[in-house]
């Protein structure tokens, strides 16, 4: 999974996927794909959040140490 996508893009896509699924206007064939994609995007978002959180914590720690 080497896809480069920003958190904002990933989140937007995720939201629209959820909407599509909730509206029920997706064929069953598509459904599995969409869910699979959603799971993928959630993973991306979680990773990004984790790394962001680590970075932010590191930066804050550095500032405090100054």
């Amino acid at each position: 999974m080497n896809e480069t996508i920003s958190y904002t893009e990933a989140f937007k896509e995720l939201q629209s996927l959820v909407n599509d699924i909730e509206s029920g206007e997706i064929s069953v064939d598509q459904l599995s794909e969409k869910v699979k994609r959603a799971a993928q995007l959630i993973k991306i978002c979680k990773d990004l959040l984790t790394s962001t959180e680590t970075d932010v914590n590191q930066i804050l720690k550095e500032i405090e140490e100054e």
Binding site: F11, S27, V28, V35, I42, L49
Partner: protein, 438 residues
């Protein structure tokens, strides 16, 4: 008629004279001419007597060399005059008559004191006459020029007196410049009066070129000064329009010329000194004034220097004070700025610090919000997963390949496909019934 031989007559005259004047006699007469013969050394004086200007007696005399020398010496000693023409004399003489040589008046002696008294009488007469005429003081009363620069000199070119005068004037160490012109004149003897008066007249014609007249006679000692008692010369000098200064020698009594002259300096050297003194009289005060002026200027300058140095030290002091004050104020400002800067920095540090805390909080909050959002979506997706729905006992019916939502789209006999959790069911529609509870 008795006839005499010449010898008888001359013998008679000789006898008569010898009887009448057996010894020498004293005679008073005017010696008109001395008639000195340098070669023999004898004199043949011309004697006469006048009454009211007319000659009433006249006779020639003999003065032999030896007698002449003796008499002349005694004259020079007493009168300061030699035996000369035109003086009154009292003389001792022997009157003789020689049949061959004729009448002879041999002068044996001449009394100098008689001539002296006579000369003095003449001198007094001249003075009285000049005073009576009111001109005795006339030359003395002239205004003397401030600087007697231009001098008409009456002198003898080769005389010692003129040389002395020139030396003093030309070599004066103060370098006063005089301009003098010689009017040569005979200054003693017979021609004194005529020559001197002639030169005075010449000078008078060009008097505007001259400041003073100087009569300079020298080298003759005090002999022959009586000529300067002559009224004619004295009158000319008294009336002369320029001041006349005399340097004609040492007389026992000042001569009339010296008395009427503006100034009698006696010797030519003194005369030159007098002229130089006139320059001194101007130059010395001038020099003193100059020195005074220089001193005043110096004083003034040093006063100004003093003032200026006072001003500049004052200025320096003020400036230093100003600088000190400015420095103080600057130090104070620096202090202020430092303090204020520290204050600002501290304040901003606090601000940043609080901002940092806020940022930290917000960031963390934001991140946790994101986490929550993702969690919600994840849950939703989880719930929406069809496999889970099928697993819970729901199924999907497809009609013509499309999920079937409404009973009304289906006709009897239509073929339907049902998807369950673990497989599919193929069926045909046999009965249709609408839901009573929509």
């Amino acid at each position: 008629m008795k006839i005499f031989s010449l010898l008888e007559i001359t013998k008679g005259l000789q006898r008569t004279l010898a009887e009448q004047y057996p010894q020498s006699v004293w005679i008073r007469a005017e010696m008109n001419k001395l008639n000195f013969y340098p070669q023999s050394g004898h004199c043949y004086p011309e004697l006469l007597e006048k009454q009211e200007g007319k000659i009433v007696a006249q006779m020639k005399a003999n003065l032999w060399n030896d007698d002449y020398q003796r008499i002349n010496t005694s004259f020079l000693a007493i009168l300061h005059e030699p035996l000369k023409n035109g003086i009154n004399i009292l003389f001792q003489a022997k009157v003789t008559f020689d049949p061959v040589y004729g009448l002879s008046l041999r002068i044996l002696d001449i009394d100098p004191s008689y001539s002296l008294g006579n000369l003095e009488q003449e001198r007094q007469k001249s003075i009285e006459k000049l005073k009576k005429m009111g001109i005795f003081e006339q030359n003395k009363n002239l205004e003397f020029p401030l600087l007697p620069k231009r001098i008409a000199v009456i002198s003898v070119e080769t005389s010692k007196g003129y040389a002395d005068f020139q030396q003093v004037i030309n070599q004066n160490p103060w370098k006063y410049r005089f301009c003098y012109h010689l009017f040569p004149s005979i200054l003693q003897g017979e021609k004194l009066a005529s020559s001197l008066i002639q030169q005075l007249k010449r000078i008078e014609q060009v008097k505007h070129h001259f400041d003073v007249v100087a009569i300079i006679r020298g080298g003759g000692g005090d002999i022959g000064l009586s000529g300067y008692n002559q009224f004619e010369i004295a009158e000319q000098i008294a009336r002369f329009p320029l001041p006349v200064i005399t340097g004609i020698g040492h007389a026992t009594n000042e001569t009339v010329v010296e008395l009427v002259a503006f100034k009698n300096c006696i010797t030519p050297t003194d005369l030159a000194g007098f002229l130089i003194q006139q320059f001194h009289n101007v130059a010395v005060p001038l020099q003193e004034t100059w020195q005074k002026l220089a001193k005043v200027v110096d004083d003034r300058l040093s006063e100004e220097h003093q003032k200026q140095s006072e001003i500049s030290s004052e200025l320096k002091k003020n400036t230093l004070e100003q600088i000190a004050r400015a420095l103080q104020s600057l130090t104070f400002q620096v202090h202020q700025v430092k303090g204020y800067t520290r204050f600002l920095i501290r304040k901003h540090r606090e601000l940043i610090s609080s901002q940092f805390v806020l940022t930290k909080k917000k960031t963390r909050g934001f991140i946790s919000t994101q986490w929550a959002n993702i969690q919600i979506i994840e849950n939703n997706i989880h719930l929406l997963d069809p496999k889970r729905i099928l697993a819970r006992g729901f199924s999907i019916t497809l009609h013509n390949g499309q999920p079937l939502r409404s009973q009304s789209a289906v006709r009897r006999g239509d073929s339907l496909k049902t998807i369950t959790f673990d497989g599919t069911i193929q069926s045909t529609v046999t009965n249709l019934q609408s839901d009573p509870t929509p």
